[in-house]
């Protein structure tokens, strides 16, 4: 009886410890799961479509205001702003706009723009055909540039959304770039949003 009990106990303990290990893994699995979840629900306002758009029909009966804002995080010295604060677009219409950036420092720098959309319900309908945020943007000391953004708003956009705000936060990745030199950002799924 006692011996069998001990065996049973050992087996149970091993199983429970395994369960704990699995849950530790699950903690990490929450990261990609969260991305999938956000993709489906738009929880974090980052589930844009990317790449060439499938939309052909332009709905010229309805327009939506698309607004651009920029944020420079605490330690980012670049000037960074949209060339147009807001534009009115027809649904399904290809539109190009640009963002102005200048590196005022005396050093070569590289930056990554991180997009976010509000209302988050609008994110899946904002289709970015081409965006400067797909790649890291290097700038020589004192140089400036206009970075293009080509987008379409899906005609399926729900009626109640009248304004879409697209925000870019521009982060300084110069330090990281030096360490992981030629790592294309596409590899890190979470970077290439």
């Amino acid at each position: 009886m006692a011996v069998q009990n001990e065996k049973q106990t050992k087996r149970l303990a091993v199983r429970l410890a395994t369960a704990a290990l699995v849950m530790f893994g699950f903690g990490f699995a929450l990261v990609p799961l969260y991305d999938v979840f956000c993709d489906i629900t738009g929880l974090n306002g980052k589930n844009f479509n990317q790449g060439p758009a499938q939309i052909v029909a332009v709905d010229d009966s309805r327009t939506v205001k698309v607004q651009f804002i920029t944020v420079n995080p605490a330690d980012m010295p670049w000037s960074f702003e949209p060339t147009e604060r807001s534009i009115r677009v027809f649904l399904g219409e290809d539109r190009q706009t640009a963002f102005y950036a200048k590196n005022p420092t005396a050093n070569w720098m590289v930056a990554q723009a991180v997009p976010s959309v509000t209302p988050s319900e609008a994110a899946p309908y904002l289709h970015k055909v081409n965006c400067f945020c797909f790649e890291r943007q290097p700038l020589e000391a004192g140089a400036d540039t206009e970075m293009p953004l080509l987008f379409v708003v899906d005609p399926e956009l729900p009626e109640y959304i009248s304004t879409i705000t697209l925000s870019y936060a521009l982060y300084d990745l110069t330090g990281e770039q030096k360490v992981t030199q030629v790592k294309p950002s596409k590899d890190k799924g979470r970077v290439s949003l």
Partner: protein, 364 residues
């Protein structure tokens, strides 16, 4: 002695402000009133349930005492009763959930707004950018250090006052685009029932349509570091015409500021202005005495930067220092302010570089 005076002042100051507010403010928007009503509805439901449950409990405590000779009965199960007190609370909950969901849907209204303002949280101040007006300013705590350290009597708006309040028009839908520059903050004005987290790399939105002109005060509500308790939100709601006037004034002021930057200043003028700038923007970390906090924030006194090359000193203030709490101040301070604070730091706290710089030489 100063301690005694301090204590005396704080003791006198407090009874004057006796305020026993026990409930939420109703607020000044249709939405805030709706939320207030919801809050009161749930509160009263809880009170009724509480009175019933505690009533039975205290009845039992007084009636069925062993000391009064109560003898316990033997029942310990009754499926009907148990089902009843599972089902009834469920129904009450559904009754609560319906108005709550309706209010929630009102909050998520996404119709087009009249004024749009980007609100950005910084450690530890707010920045307001009017998207259609080219108005852009920072809003810092205006309460003096002396009041906080009890060396001066506290004014009625202690900790709830700023140098530049946000100004919005009355009866217009104002949409806020809330984001952050460093850590997570949260922008809250209780009278508007607007509270939204400001998250770095993300943008959140919220909106308000205020019905009465006035000054409304709130605070940052997400722990954002050392001065979290010292970054209030003040919103001035103005009548339409007054608001237009304010917008025009802001634009005129901006032009005037640009002219100021090309003026020549004397060293004493710069030091005098620099002290004010330092206390507003630098003293939070580097401390009012310039000694910093060892291990967290470096001292200004004898610092290799404040006593080194002028260009490097300006660069670190203008562009910040990557990977540290030192922010880039070029957006926050005018050329005059930067020249002033650089000159001040080089010639105060025991530093005596004796040099100074003109605003016109500041490259932003």
């Amino acid at each position: 002695m100063t301690k005694a005076i301090t204590l005396a002042i704080s003791l006198i100051a407090i009874p004057a402000s006796a305020d026993w507010q026990i409930n939420m403010n109703e607020g000044v928007t249709a939405l805030s009133r709706e939320i207030f009503d919801l809050h009161m509805l749930i509160f009263w439901i809880c009170v009724v349930i509480g009175v019933a449950v505690f009533g039975v409990m205290f009845y039992s405590i007084f009636k069925f005492r062993k000391s009064k000779g109560a003898v316990s009965e033997h029942w310990h199960e009754n499926t009907t009763v148990e089902v009843v007190w599972t089902v009834i609370p469920s129904i009450i909950l559904i009754a609560m959930a319906i108005p709550a969901t309706a209010t929630l849907m009102d909050m998520y209204d996404t119709s087009e707004a009249d004024v749009e303002i980007q609100v950005t949280g910084y450690q530890w101040k707010w920045r307001y950018q009017y998207l259609d007006e080219d108005i852009d300013f920072f809003s810092n705590l205006a309460t003096s250090r002396e009041e906080i350290t009890n060396e001066a009597a506290k004014n009625p708006n202690y900790l709830l006052e700023v140098d530049n309040p946000l100004v919005i028009p009355v009866n217009k839908k104002v949409r806020f685009l809330i984001t952050s520059n460093d850590v997570i903050h949260s922008w809250w004005v209780p009278n508007f029932a607007v509270k939204k987290d400001a998250i770095p790399g993300f943008v959140n939105e919220s909106w308000v349509k205020v019905e009465e002109p006035g000054v409304y005060r709130g605070q940052c509500t997400e722990l954002c570091g050392k001065e979290h308790g010292f970054m209030p939100v003040v919103v001035e709601v103005k009548a339409e015409a007054d608001y237009e006037q304010w917008v025009a004034d802001q634009k005129a002021m901006k032009l005037a500021m640009a002219g100021e930057a090309s003026k020549e200043f004397s060293m004493d003028e710069l030091i005098a202005q620099g002290e004010g700038v330092y206390n507003m923007s630098c003293a939070g970390c580097h401390q009012p005495n310039g000694q910093g906090i060892p291990g967290a924030f470096p001292a200004i006194t004898g610092s290799t930067i404040a006593t080194g090359e002028m260009d490097k000193h300006i660069d670190i203030i203008v562009n910040g220092k990557s990977g540290t709490a030192m922010q880039a101040f070029k957006e926050q301070l005018s050329a005059v302010d930067i020249a002033a604070v650089v000159t001040y730091q080089r010639n105060a706290f025991g530093n005596s570089m004796g040099d100074f710089i003109q605003p016109s030489a500041i490259q932003k």
